[in-house]
Amino acid sequence: MAVKDQLAALEAERNYEHPIYDVLARFPGLDIATTSVDALLEWGAKNSLWIFPMATSCCGIEFMAAAASRVDLDRMGTIVRGTPRQCDVMVVAGTITVKMAPRVKRLWDQMPEPKWCIAMGSCAISGDFYRDIYSVIPGIDIVVPVDVYIPGCPPNPESLMAGMMRLQERVSLKRAGKPVPKDERPETHDKTIVPKIGRFEDRIAKDPNDRTTRLQELSARTLKVQGLELPDESGE
């Protein structure tokens, strides 16, 4: 399956519905409470975004600085936890390599719904100047779906805070547990720029005889990065 189709499937899976709606639907007459429950859930979700730091490199240090005394990210209700099982937001801070990408995918899968992902820094967005390097994933959004991109190398703690506020806006764009369709969104939220970046497969199509791209493709296939499958780790 191509990466694009897999990403579409990933996005479709994220149409999460809170179990409380089952209860509401079971009792006739309680449907009218849906709106208030919506508001309550939304308020709770956006003010308690617990962060799972996928901090790999330099951006991880700025992430720590954001969580530390001067900027204090905790005042927004975000608490940094070391385990994916308790968290809502994965902040990918730093370069992701082909060796690390399957682990990122596995940790993302371990997070409970609803969940969001922030790509912090140029490396996580596009690979930055490591983009053409044999071992670097050019942008984390070929592995996990990304909600907010925070540019910078690395972004200041203030930028991270702005990104978190942007994510709070995004969280509030949910109705009845489902994301609001794009055409119904307010105008301000429609301006999110998703970077348009060529991927491995595009480049392979460009020049099939290039030795490097062939080697990269071969290695990527062996590693199943494109297939987003995990290598068997039991043997190590």
């Binding site: 901090a55 790999t56 330099c58 370069t95 060796k99 690390m100 682990r103 100047f129 200041n156």
Partner: protein, 451 residues
Amino acid sequence: MAVAETPPAAPVTPAAQATPIAPVTQVAASTGPLVPSGPPRDGPIPPIRAARTPRTDCKPTKAFVPEPHLDLSTYEADADLMTLSLGPQHPSTHGVFRVVLYLDGEQIVKAVPYPGYLHRGVEKLCEKLMASNITPIIDKNDYVAPMTNEQAVNMAFESLMGVEVPVRARYLRTVLAETQRVASHLLWLGTFGMDLGGALGGGTSLFMWCFRERELILDLFENLTGCRFHYNTHTVGGNRHDVPAGWPEMLHRTLGAIDERLDQYLGMLEHPIFSARTKGVGVIDADLALELGLTGPLLRASGVDHDLRRDAPYHAYAEVDLKVFVEDAGDCWARSKVRIEEMRESIRISRILVDNLPPGPICSTKPLKMVGQHKLPPGQVYVGIETPRGELGTWLIGGGANKGSSPYRLKIRSPSLHACAVIPYVLPGCSLSDAIAILGSLDPVMGEVDR
């Protein structure tokens, strides 16, 4: 894990009681059933080893046979082994680093590290770039101390090209390197406090303190270079940014404030819980440290009196009287002590040098703008400097097939790589909780290990 039917572990022999910290070689060399050695957890805290005089004539005194590759098939203990994969995403591995631990109960029998989760191919990238473009990329290697990274690579270029650095730039580089050392050690101390968990009043309080101080130094650098984190302030032949008005006073204010608080941190070393978690844990003796190519605070904490700043002075280190701190125990506590004392010394040097900053130009070359403006002559040089983590070296090969201004091959000798290579030698025999303390005390930066 051990099941109920298993007989109790072999009794501790009197010899083992006399020396509670089993040497690494003992664990590896035993061919029979491998009994977990090391101190019992519920007993008294083992004393650190008897003090020795610091060694200056470092010659190999005994035939040291390292053997980290323990064959697990020889392991015949009754309890089964449990395999625990620590990392690559774990808060205490300081980045993305994976150690596979083989545990017998809580004792580590074998530890196999797997680096390479942040391999970004910097050396390959540098083969395509000229010197002024390499500097901001080298910044990202050791992202805790970018200043010293830049200096290491630019000094290699200066050495190969034969470029002289003005006196003022040499003084300024020394000030920046030493201030960066303080910031780097502060970050280490904060994360080390987090690693030790609740040992220091709630875990994150030390982290908060250290980042409060570190932000002051980042402000200082931001005033000078305009960047908070990756500075790109060094270039071939000098520095880009001269000292702005009022900067020396700002440096005095900042470092003075940090200096006052260092006593608190030194007092913390005597905290009973901190001592219990670090004293006698993860002992690296001088022979092992030298064998493994350890440098910097790790080597000095093992009792080897070696510091490139004093022994092979570069920058303006020859102008100051540098005190080098050597601890003899070689455990986590000694490494903490050495780093905190180094901070005080760095503050002292920076404050002296910034007062005596000589006038003159800051850079001896024109800014590199065009490809081919400066040609790299063919040849090979190695330049090593003392960063907060140890000897960071750059092996630069010029000329070759691409006869431009980009290097033919650039190899970075990173101190963190050697620090991580210690793990299979030190972890066996420790308990799982000690492993976290040892990993934290090594202070590896994964960007530098994997590059």
